[in-house]
Symmetry: C2
Subunit: 343 residues, 2 copies
Amino acid sequence: MAQNDDRRVAVLRAIVEDYVATREPVGSRALVERHALGVSPATIRNDMAALEDGGYIAQPHTSAGRVPTDKGYRLFVDRLDDIKPLSGPERRAIAAFLEDAVDLDDVVDRSVRLLAQLTHQVAVVQYPSLRRSALRHVELVAVGARHLLVVLITRTGRVEQRTVELEAPLDELVVTQLRARLNVAVAGRVLADLGTVREDLRQAFPPADRPLVDAVLAVVEETLALEGEERIVLAGTANLARGGSPDFGRSLGPVLEALEEQVVLLRLLSDMAEDEATVTVRIGRENQHEGLVETSFVTTGYGTGDGSAVARIGSVGPLRMDYPGTMAAVRAVARYLSRTLAG
Amino acid sequence: MAQNDDRRVAVLRAIVEDYVATREPVGSRALVERHALGVSPATIRNDMAALEDGGYIAQPHTSAGRVPTDKGYRLFVDRLDDIKPLSGPERRAIAAFLEDAVDLDDVVDRSVRLLAQLTHQVAVVQYPSLRRSALRHVELVAVGARHLLVVLITRTGRVEQRTVELEAPLDELVVTQLRARLNVAVAGRVLADLGTVREDLRQAFPPADRPLVDAVLAVVEETLALEGEERIVLAGTANLARGGSPDFGRSLGPVLEALEEQVVLLRLLSDMAEDEATVTVRIGRENQHEGLVETSFVTTGYGTGDGSAVARIGSVGPLRMDYPGTMAAVRAVARYLSRTLAG
DNA sequence: GATTGGCACTCACGTACCGTGAGTGCTACC
DNA sequence: GGTAGCACTCACGGTACGTGAGTGCCAATC
């Protein structure tokens, strides 16, 4: 029975591979011809019947071959023992392409295009989360007498700015002091740590200046915490409709809609593993979203190399995607992205 | 004959309207039934034959009704005498929605979503061009001993940052001086004006410090001038595939590809009028791009209210789009966007 | 000269109707 | 458990045909 099971998994794998390659339901005969399974079509048919009973494959109609189900793809992915690395030239191309980036926007933009091109699917890159990034610098700029521009710059190179309206006119000296103290206190810290320095910072100023200090601190924390400040960029949506591919017949609309809703993507991304190394795969209904039941989502985290992810990167494609290849590409781009940000 | 021509234009208009509404070739009988043209189908048929000779309409096949050609849509658009304004509630909704934005990214994001929703098409918004925006502030931040972070902030709220690597170690005092002088010299100016202040600024520093001054000025000018720094955001691509609409049969791929190529969009946008008020329409082949021959592009400029556009905003849809409605929506969003940025 | 009613003609579209063949499930046999 | 044989199913592609919307043209009319 165990040997039997092994072969059945092999049959499932063969079915997935052929279906991914040909986009056509695969029959028992074609299977033995294209794979060295060592048994006859009739035997394969029995295995297929068993796989169908188990819900791993299905027939589009009675007299057709079999097609993997969500559950079948799931087993296929779970049984992949290792992700084969990309080839040397590919890796070098990735590294070279990312190295030329001039700033964070450019890094993210290049990464997402690169991943879209490598996978021939839709690529998704989440900007380094503000709340999880360490601050590099806080800049205060007086704009007129009663407005203060607060600019946050993170270690990952993200820049965010906000204007504070003040009740009292600005004293340039206090601003200078506050800027200096704030940077000493805040540099290298992430949002979660800010609470601990807050009181110290307040106490360092005379009571008269505290409203300003409070206002600035409030805006900093608010900006870092703001859910809406999570940003996501996409590339390769054209790949969904590529070459007249009928992967998504008329159902392309819902997919695009889902992808455009950053909220949806964010929820999906945040559902996945938090660490930097694991490549997570969500197949069909596992995405918990109506528009994405005919897609799979392959993601992994990236960061600055210290193990905890600062954001995520991923690829969305049809259920019948090249899982091993996509997983390898996603992992590779994430690694080089991490490296670029850390460097 | 002149009267004849008038009616023919009326017939063309009726054909465009019906075809836009029904997506089906329109015949002579349906035309007289749905529009008060005051003549019989046979007369209409004569007019249609004339319009077809003129290249304004065409028949998909012999026994079908007529469909407008690019040239037909062009005449239709050219004969629109005025753009009807949006309704009061619509305008208030736009204003209210844009007012809540917290920063430039948010303003742009809201504008593009809004326009996509109003037109049920793809919306395109170009970020305020760096080179055409006046600078509000330049910030210099020492990062380690030999790196200087240069942050540019424009009047329109755009923030751009770049790191300069220096040959000599930084002198904090020189940085402070440079920051102060730079801001005095540069505030309120656009790229084109920078050349005029450059020498003055250099001369104000002792020769020893000039390499630093030069490096900073170079990076500022380079950043402002960089073609690649033009940014464009899209929304509503899902609308292209909406409701199983067969507007773009299998040709949706090329359209998405074209829209993803920022270079293509930039060229298109820059081809159009420079002023802030005019609404420009590009129909089909007028877009000069293979992927967009089945689309029309309606754009206008926006700015900070002084008449010269700082960037453009537009909507892309099928040839059979609601031109008057789209033009009104584009113009309205552009106006409120300008107002928001100026305020 | 423009407009109209009449009329023959065209042709996409939908429906119905096979023939074909890939693929299956089942059963008997090794 | 694996295999060979066989009857059965059914999507798919091709052909044939009736239907009707729409046209172009012509002669009659205003």
